[in-house]
Amino acid sequence: MNFSYTLFIPLIPLFVFLFLGILHTKLKPKLAGTIGVLGLSTSTLLSYYTAYKYFFEVGKVDGVYQTFIGAKTTWINFTELLHIDMGVLLDPISIMMLVVVSTISLMVHIYSLGYMKGEAGFNRYYAFLSLFTFSMYGLVIATNIFQMYIFWELVGVSSFLLIGYYYDKPSAVAAAKKAFIVTRFADLGFLIGILILSYYAGTFDFQILNNPQGAIISNGIGASFMGLSVITWALILMFVGGAGKSAMFPLHIWLPDAMEGPTPVSALIHAATMVVAGVYLVARMFPLYYFIDGGFVLQIVAYVGAFTSLFAAIIACTQNDIKRVLAFSTMSQIGYMMLALGVSGYDGHEGLGYMASMFHLFTHAMFKALLFLGAGSVIHAVHSNLMKDMGGLRKYMPITNITFFIAALSISGFPFTSGFFSKDEILSAAFENSKLIYFVGLFVAGLTAFYMFRIYFSIFWGKEKTYKHTPHESPLSMTIPLILLAILSIAPGYIHFSDFISADRGGFEAHLNYPLAITAVVTGLIGILVAYVFYKKENNIPEKVSKTFGAIYTWTYHKFYIDELYLFVTKKIIFNIVSASFAWFDKKVIDDSMIGIGDATINSSEKIKKLQSGKFQDYATWFILGAIALVLYFLYKN
């Protein structure tokens, strides 16, 4: 089967980026926006066509989905086996990611036409969006771990550029820096992991690494370190990189601040695509994670995911900035995906967690992008991020209201929405594996419903406000993506995901687990009910409750002081103690020795420049003395 055209899926956004980037001062904003949207539409159509062709025209061969290499070229050749390739790898999860990235990116491109209208640097914005989309495509279709790493950094760069889009705002600049440094710090772990893995395995290639019958998994690698095999250590380090990108505790601190970027960017990068790269990484390397050392690393993944999802959900209940609530909600949901991967098995129905994680990734991308875009629409109308500036907006913005409501239902796991199906799969996978993780997941489901309806009621119901400018519904370019995404927040639930994506690629039959589903729905409804009582009409219950919790509330409101802890560690300990000694060494030893060499050169040249007198008899004297000295040396050398 020929998939070589898939090369154009990433290349079109790249060309658009170069075109808009070079001509961004010359083009009219309208033209730039049109070029961006058209370019991405082409990539999106190609992605959909690829998905159709892969799943339906080619389908399963011998009962499993095959891996195709659309295009491949050797980029750097180290040895016969170890070389870095650039190429396109097509398998179920990469194609699913292509569809997710294309869909969300296209929606955001269209939405931004309205949202960013009249902003200075509109063309720059579209150029960066294209750069991001290109990088994300490159990441998901990577044929080897090193290509993935390169694009991994590229999405980091484009995220940095887009968070810092309002570069005249100090908070945005600080947030961009923070996001870049924190993820870059985590990527150090990823890089070391790659180096260890490739050193011992002798290859970067996913197909060789992940082959369950392959030498690496069946034989293992002899070397071990501190009781675990080196491959396990490599996988742990790679998970650190994934945790940084996916904002897992304790590397999550950048994500809430990243909300300084334009809202569509938050929807695209910090909700739907880039932040799930960590989940995708674990899913991509899943056979290694599962088979090496009996899935030891997966245990870590599961507990980190479960803890983050709980931790973030609790914080989300107390935040007042709607985008921050959504950011914490994203962290919580990504924690869900991680825990699902962590509890997953490999063969057939055992691999329920894997499939559930990918399923949730898909549905979450849709409804979370919708929530962000809806929030963007509200912010566009009210000119504020804070919940206290909003209220009673349902009268002014009917479409935003309805679509936001659908998304909130979906994330709360209300029956017949897509979130209901994917959450149910995750919870049943967790239930089979670990009761503790299951109950954490269930509790988080309740919290999710609560905080989501907290913001829903606060924005669209609650107390009537008097607005300086009467809010009005957003333009068509913004409402159409909202409506499309609202459909996509419900429809994907009815796809039989397990037919397409499973750990062993064979597919299996997944059923709704009714007792668990009903428990989850009831928990979600309780959350919604509590939010209804608290926030439907203005009252003082929330205040009373927060007073009852007192210190705990303040603690949570300040995000458990994790940021302060980081600042303390970096500023007080690292900057003052560690960096100060390095700075001393740099100044006193390295700088001074360099300055010393320079001074010595100047001084000695001052001395010897007198030899250059211009008197040729002096030169002759030196020449003759030298000649005599040489003669004497050779005569008496022995």
Binding site: S613, G614, K615, F616, Q617, A620, T621, I624
Partner: protein, 105 residues
């Protein structure tokens, strides 16, 4: 071969001659005198060529040829040097070696 005079005597003579030339080259102030000192050095080496040829390889002639060759070159070199000195004199009205320092710049 000259009876009664060994090669060492003549080599001593040419060495003295050579170093007189060197000494003159370094210490003289007059450019003409320096040129004459160079001639002394050349002459010392010419004599050496002839002497080595006569004492060590009496049936060969290369040393003699070389000495003629050197004399020819010395003549050409003297002509060149004198013309430089003349033009130098025209420029500065002096043949003192100290004034040649101005050529440095």
């Amino acid at each position: 071969m000259i009876s009664g005079i060994s090669i060492y005597h003549i080599l001593t003579l040419t060495t003295i001659l050579f170093f007189i030339g060197i000494y003159g080259f370094i210490t003289r102030k007059n450019l003409i005198a320096i040129l004459i000192s160079i001639e002394l050095i050349l002459n010392a080496s010419v004599v050496n060529f002839v002497i080595f040829n006569t004492y060590l390889y009496p049936d060969m002639l290369q040393g003699v040829f070389f000495s003629i060759f050197i004399i020819a070159i010395a003549a050409a070199e003297s002509a060149l040097a004198v013309s430089i000195i003349v033009s130098f004199y025209r420029m500065l009205a002096s043949v003192d070696v100290k004034d040649t320092e101005t050529l440095k710049y």
